[in-house]
């Protein structure tokens, strides 16, 4: 019955979840800068997230919730979670913080880990790289070093494979957010590309022994009523109208690419404006110098050097953060699409093999 004490001879492989009496020593958090190398989730959390989306999250709304757990060395263990109610306009006096506090206090009474270690969110076809997510994750990570955001993709899960990913902001991005300075110079200095905005942390699922017993029990009892869409090709690529998975993904991708191209146009105009302005400045300076020389030749006092920056206000550089986000989102979409096509190619080849055998 290993207890949850950190590092008391328990290597990473031996059990770190209690299987009996609540010997729940809270693992001390790792030293401040230790990044989280792995996220370990209890089966219970997975089920709860699935259930929350299923019941409350139909449609394009995202459902969110809080993750509870503890940090053990460089591993983040998530042991429980609770959902957050969705924002509705008629609930103006709803106090999120209070809800959270009460929930955590109550959970503490029943010995559930009450350490906040992150939050989860469902996503619609993979579109989660938004400013809101960034801000939330930043405030979490700022407060708690090791927090992660779990992104749960229900549509992909319904197709057969549980899609749960854990993300953190990279340290560089954290710095930038701290400064709240999203100007292009700062971003260039930090050298952030869209690929280094979020880092994905590998997830493992761990269950205690008793839960394993439960799983066996369930397996014996429940009917094998599988309606998996796992091996179905019908939902993949045959139809042209955009109601299927690939179609939706592509459509979202196209929208983003449109946004991106608008952004690029803006950037181009900016560049053109700056260079035009440079030229104008240059010309102005030259004219000034000429005038001054003329005046000197005539013996008059030279004209004062005017402050060029006041005359020519430099154009506003476009915000780089948004385009970074868009690029990140496009990247995610592309990844998803590639995964999807890889799977389907496999299925197609299987179908081919079946047919060949038939004939």
């Amino acid at each position: 019955m290993a207890s949850r004490k950190e590092g008391t001879g328990s290597t990473a492989t031996s059990s770190s979840s209690t299987a009996g009496a609540a010997g729940k020593g809270k693992g001390k958090g790792g030293s401040g800068d230790s990044a989280v190398k792995q996220v370990q989730i209890d089966g219970l959390v997975v089920l709860k997230i699935i259930k929350h989306y299923q019941e409350e999250g139909q449609g394009t709304e995202v459902v969110q919730g809080v993750l509870l757990g503890l940090v053990v060395e460089d591993r983040l263990e998530i042991t429980n979670c609770f959902p957050f109610p969705q924002h509705t306009e008629d609930d103006a006096d709803f106090d999120e913080v209070q809800y959270q506090m009460e929930m955590m206090r109550s959970l503490r009474h029943v010995n559930i880990d009450h350490l906040h270690v992150g939050w989860y969110q469902s996503t619609y076809y993979g579109s989660f790289v938004t400013r809101a997510l960034l801000d939330s994750q930043f405030s979490y990570q700022h407060a708690i070093e090791e927090s992660v955001v779990l992104i749960y993709d229900p549509i992909k899960t319904a197709q057969g494979s549980l899609s749960l990913k854990a993300y953190r902001l990279t340290p560089k991005l954290m710095e930038v957010c701290k400064e709240k300075d999203f100007s292009p110079e700062a971003l260039k200095k930090a050298n952030i590309t869209f690929e280094y905005m979020f880092e994905e942390v590998p997830i493992v699922i761990k269950n205690s022994h008793l839960i394993n017993v439960l799983m066996w029990e369930l397996e014996k009892k429940s009917a094998v009523a599988d309606k998996h869409e796992l091996l179905s090709l019908a939902s993949s690529i045959f139809t042209l109208h955009f109601s299927n998975h690939l179609g939706k993904n592509l459509q979202l991708l196209m929208d983003r690419v449109d946004e991106m191209s608008q952004d690029i146009v803006k950037y181009n105009t900016y560049m053109r404006n700056t260079s035009k302005q440079q030229q104008q400045k240059h010309q102005y300076q030259q004219r000034r110098q000429q005038e001054n020389m003329q005046r000197q030749s005539r013996g008059e006092p030279p004209l004062p050097e005017e402050d060029l920056s006041k005359l020519f206000k430099p154009p506003q550089p476009p915000a780089r953060m948004d385009s970074l986000l868009i690029a990140g989102q496009i990247n995610t979409y592309c990844q998803n699409i590639k995964e999807f096509t890889a799977q389907n190619l496999g299925k197609l080849f299987m179908a081919q093999a079946l047919q060949e055998y038939n004939n």
């Binding site: 205690s208 592509l250 096509t341």
Partner: protein, 354 residues
Amino acid sequence: MATPAVPVSAPPATPTPVPAAAPASVPAPTPAPAAAPVPAAAPASSSDPAAAAAATAAPGQTPASAQAPAQTPAPALPGPALPGPFPGGRVVRLHPVILASIVDSYERRNEGAARVIGTLLGTVDKHSVEVTNCFSVPHNESEDEVAVDMEFAKNMYELHKKVSPNELILGWYATGHDITEHSVLIHEYYSREAPNPIHLTVDTSLQNGRMSIKAYVSTLMGVPGRTMGVMFTPLTVKYAYYDTERIGVDLIMKTCFSPNRVIGLSSDLQQVGGASARIQDALSTVLQYAEDVLVSADNTVGRFLMSLVNQVPKIVPDDFETMLNSNINDLLMVTYLANLTQSQIALNEKLVNL
């Protein structure tokens, strides 16, 4: 005979609950305390066909009825039950998240507590009761008394309602394999919250090497006019899954096989591989069966096999070739476009940062 869904008011059945109970208890010789011969001074329990059905159901579920806490050592006498039939019929549908939650709170119980209890939330519909959520409630249990923190339960319920406004309190659960006297008290607490609450037990002490999961509803019994006892009559428990839940459970189940009880999430092609391996296993079992049973086989099985084999569609090879090629082309094109987009944005990044 165990599940008459809605208590049918069959008047001919009811005026004779007494003799009906007696032959019913005969085929189940072992529910010892409850199967004593029925005293003839049976009150007119005719108003309750539900109770009669309960009485006949009880002997059918042998081990469960042995746990009926004979407050009064009375036989399975159908007394006047709680008002109204059991809402939603006799089936309780559980979601796996409930059981996982219960096991988890059992593991985290306080020192010295032998069991944990908590509230069940869910919805009721015509034919069944669906339990979709639960939370544990702190309680203290000792030899003589039991104290349940009902304030806490109310608070938690309010909080939960903010997230899922459709969930109602359905009953309560307890771990452990027995129903004790304290359970009756707790059940009474809960009957103030919900009409006809359900009681769920999860046997975490693994008696008989199984974790048995049972559900009960309580019925009053005894001689009216005297102290009434309570009997817990069992209900059928079914497991309900959403599709996504089933997939989640399948994945989680894999930890049973790994040595450290740890698994990673599998990648996409691995999933396809895993599914096809499962099909292969299933097919080999079926083949084995077919070979063993060559002559005297069951017709229905044969028909199933026939439809299975016919599932693979027969397509003219040329048509299939064209279809296959066009689909492969589509997929490759999409992959190419995705890659192109990615390199495009990478380029853009580089340019902008100049």
